[in-house]
């Protein structure tokens, strides 16, 4: 067992944790986006999707706990890495210039991560930690028909896009997959994955803003 703890606390081990939990969170995003796209088929399709989900009964809290653990592991490991990295360069450069490797996505990982955390908390307070006396379609509609929330949700999607624009490629590199033969595939896959998920969510956000009666 000690080998396991030693691996998980090493610098590379922490990166494996980030990569694997990041991949799982990405998987969750994909399922979440696919499920929510039932909105495109109207109120009854969305409600029946929600009902099917809830009919899973005791599986739901189990899934929630697993998801929460993955999420916390990602966040806590991410914060640890961030603090250690600050320490490793205690004295800053007077002049520093990127040499051509960093991207907007890569240089903002800890900050986009923190913003996603805030976004998810807001999202949960909007739709999860509430009195469930209204059908979910009405709850969602009440939130997303307000421009105030449109802005916040659209901003949330932007930071998420930034986070996975680096994260998707990075997780392959971390798990040791970097070969000229696959690199283009990974890059295109990353664009497709990010584009698809963000497009679905953004579409829902703007659909409910511009067509307020859509989910009624």
């Amino acid at each position: 067992m000690s080998w396991f703890i030693q691996t998980c606390t090493s610098s590379l081990g922490k990166k494996y944790i980030m990569a694997i939990t990041g991949l799982m969170l990405g998987g969750f995003l994909l399922v979440h986006a696919a499920g929510n796209s039932s909105i495109f088929w109207g109120r009854s399709a969305f409600l029946s999707y929600a009902e099917h989900l809830h009919s899973l009964g005791p599986l739901i809290p189990v899934a929630e706990i697993i998801l929460l653990s993955i999420f916390l592991l990602h966040v806590i490991t991410g914060i640890t890495l961030f603090l250690q990295n600050l320490q490793a360069r205690a004295d800053r450069y007077a002049v520093s210039k990127p040499a051509g490797g960093r991207t907007w996505g890569s240089r903002t990982m800890p900050y986009t991560g923190a913003a996603i955390l805030l976004f998810i908390l807001m999202h949960l307070f909007n739709v999860h930690f509430i009195e469930h006396n209204l059908p979910i379609a009405d709850t969602v509609n009440a939130v997303l028909s307000r421009p105030f929330y449109t802005h916040l949700y659209a901003a949330g999607m932007t930071v998420l896009a930034l986070h996975i624009s680096h994260g998707f490629w990075s997780l392959f590199q971390t798990m040791g997959i970097n070969h000229p033969r696959y690199n283009t595939l990974i890059r295109i896959g990353g664009y497709l994955f990010t584009g698809l998920i963000i497009a679905i969510f953004l579409f829902i956000i703007f659909l409910l803003l511009f067509s307020p009666g859509y989910l009624m």
Partner: protein, 254 residues
Amino acid sequence: MAAKKIAITVKVWRQTDQKVKGSLETYSLSDISTDMSFLEMLDVLNDQLTMEGKEPVAFDHDCREGICGTCGAVVDGVAHGPERETTLCQLHMRHFDNGQTICIEPFRAKAFPIIRDLIVDRSAFDRIIAAGGFVSVNAGSAQDGNNTLVAQHRAEQAMDAAACIGCGACVAACPNAAAMLFVSAKISQLALLPQGHAERKMRAQAMVTIMDNEGFGNCGNERECENVCPKGISIRNIARLNREYLRATLAANE
């Protein structure tokens, strides 16, 4: 191209030892030949300082031909300066303009404490190598060379990794002061060849453990390292290190 003379202003990091806080000092230099190397420019600066009765700038150098890995500083925010795949000693003043102000700082990392001015202590690299960056050869009579076959593309990649001169620019350029490019080059040059396989598992674990203990940061896959590396070491080697370590920790001893 005929040499020109340029006048420049340099801002150099001056620090008397590890404990005292340093600062940037500004000096003016005229008549710098564009054929000079960057280190020759520093030699001229030091002559000037000595004549003025001031303490010369301490900087590391040895071969001055780009092969030993001793030189290095951060020039205008880039480790080894603006030319790609070029050590500081091989950088020429023709890449700078007349009247330009050039900022020169030491490599900065907690694991590379500043000894004086531009000289940093990179012995952390030596301790990583001592932990496992070698093959143990129990010498006997040599076998026929053709008994151990190595595919050409593997030999090429091993040679590419072996080009690392241990200068530490990758650490200096990494936003997290990680040593992954260096360690991955040293792991790869052996992991790619049959001679390295016997001690593969021990090597990956020992070198990573020492790397972590020395206080280097964690790799964030920012790719700054490969962009400043004077030997063009690729982050494909870092992916290989990630594989080597994963396999070393997952696979049990037989």
